[in-house]
Symmetry: C2
């Protein structure tokens, strides 16, 4: 059984108030993306890691790996696409053996080993697994002129890694892209597959703003 991790790092940096794509911003002195890759490698040393990165960042990544001595974790690099969907689609071309594929956001370095193991284990048993956590704020449903309170206990916030049997995810990604595909679960669900939820870890935030970096550093310091 082969294990793959597709790490998607599509950030172009527009939202961080500076010009460094967010996956390269430093967390405790080292690019976020390196923390993420290390977490997966340390959990499963035999894991095949595929990094989807915008093509014009390949050289910069190579420089960073050299500068930070990040040369011990083998990983293949594929060109990111127009959207996250297209990046995953490209990366899946390198998935040629049967097993489990995890798709993970490059800017979620704080995923726990427990979450990763749990997702792989559940996907092996049930075909897929997606980590979720509770919603803490009140939620309202808004559609044009209408808006109404909804029961927040009936909603979950979706994280990554989202894990799937290789044949299943490869089949799902043969579909044409639609706007509703915001994550891999929604793509796989669209071919009629039931998604299985597992409990994620609260710290597993997606770093998309300078405030998130501060939280992440705080988590790492504890």
């Amino acid at each position: 059984m082969c294990k793959y991790a597709i790490i998607v790092a599509g950030g172009k940096g527009e939202r961080m108030g500076n010009h460094i794509p967010k996956q390269f911003l430093k967390l405790n002195g080292k690019p976020i993306l390196m923390h993420t890759i290390e977490k997966f490698h340390s959990t499963f040393p035999e894991l095949k890691i595929i990094l989807a990165l915008p093509e014009n960042q390949f050289d910069f990544w190579e420089e960073l790996c050299y500068k930070f001595g990040f040369t011990n974790i083998p990983h293949e690099i594929v060109a990111g696409g127009k959207t996250r969907f297209h990046s995953v689609q490209n990366a899946l071309k390198l998935v040629n053996e049967n097993g489990i594929v995890a798709v993970h956001d490059g800017v979620r370095p704080l995923v726990s080993q427990h979450t990763i193991i749990n997702c792989f284990k559940t996907a092996l048993q049930l075909g897929n697994a997606v980590p979720v956590v509770d919603v803490v704020d009140s939620l309202r449903y808004v559609n044009k002129a209408e808006n109404k309170a909804v029961k927040r206990a009936c909603y979950k916030i979706v994280q990554t890694p989202q894990c799937f049997q290789t044949a299943l995810i490869k089949k799902a990604y043969q579909q044409d892209f639609i706007e509703e595909f915001t994550d891999d679960a929604s793509v796989v669900e669209a071919i009629g597959i039931k998604i299985h939820l597992v409990t994620g870890n609260k710290e597993n935030i997606k770093i998309t703003s300078p405030e998130d970096l501060v939280i992440a550093e705080d988590y790492l310091t504890r």
Copy 2:
């Protein structure tokens, strides 16, 4: 037209990993609750402020006010109830003139003056106003065995201050409490009133964990 703010501070401290109720934890050297009250007072100096606090914290609050020289902002104190609903119900007994009531979480010190003014203005025109912000993560609807991806663009995260014409909110709070009342908008909506949404400010987070305190200090430092 009379303006009221009911500041609800019901925290008993169990969730912060220590025994100080969260509204009293220090943010840049001063209890969170003082920041919150100051923000409302500086926005509308004529505002009548009603603080709903667990009865066994009255003395501690008085000590804190003395210690921090927090004696220039007049505010009335009422006993908090079993739930947030019951605290607001108690506080509304002190609302005796026509105008607008804002209900605000004591642990949201980072509400902007712009948000406060916008909510009061809209409530004056339309009867009520509730600040909301976008959902940034993927969401799934979960109900027993069923779960499915939902369009996150159709959901909003609800903040405070939630503002209402006095007659409206007093009428709504005559209802019996049900579990679905997670905020004031849901209470007012239950008597058949349409809720009006205004744009909140992203920093206006509810401080409920040590990580939130770190984010809040970061926001204040900027």
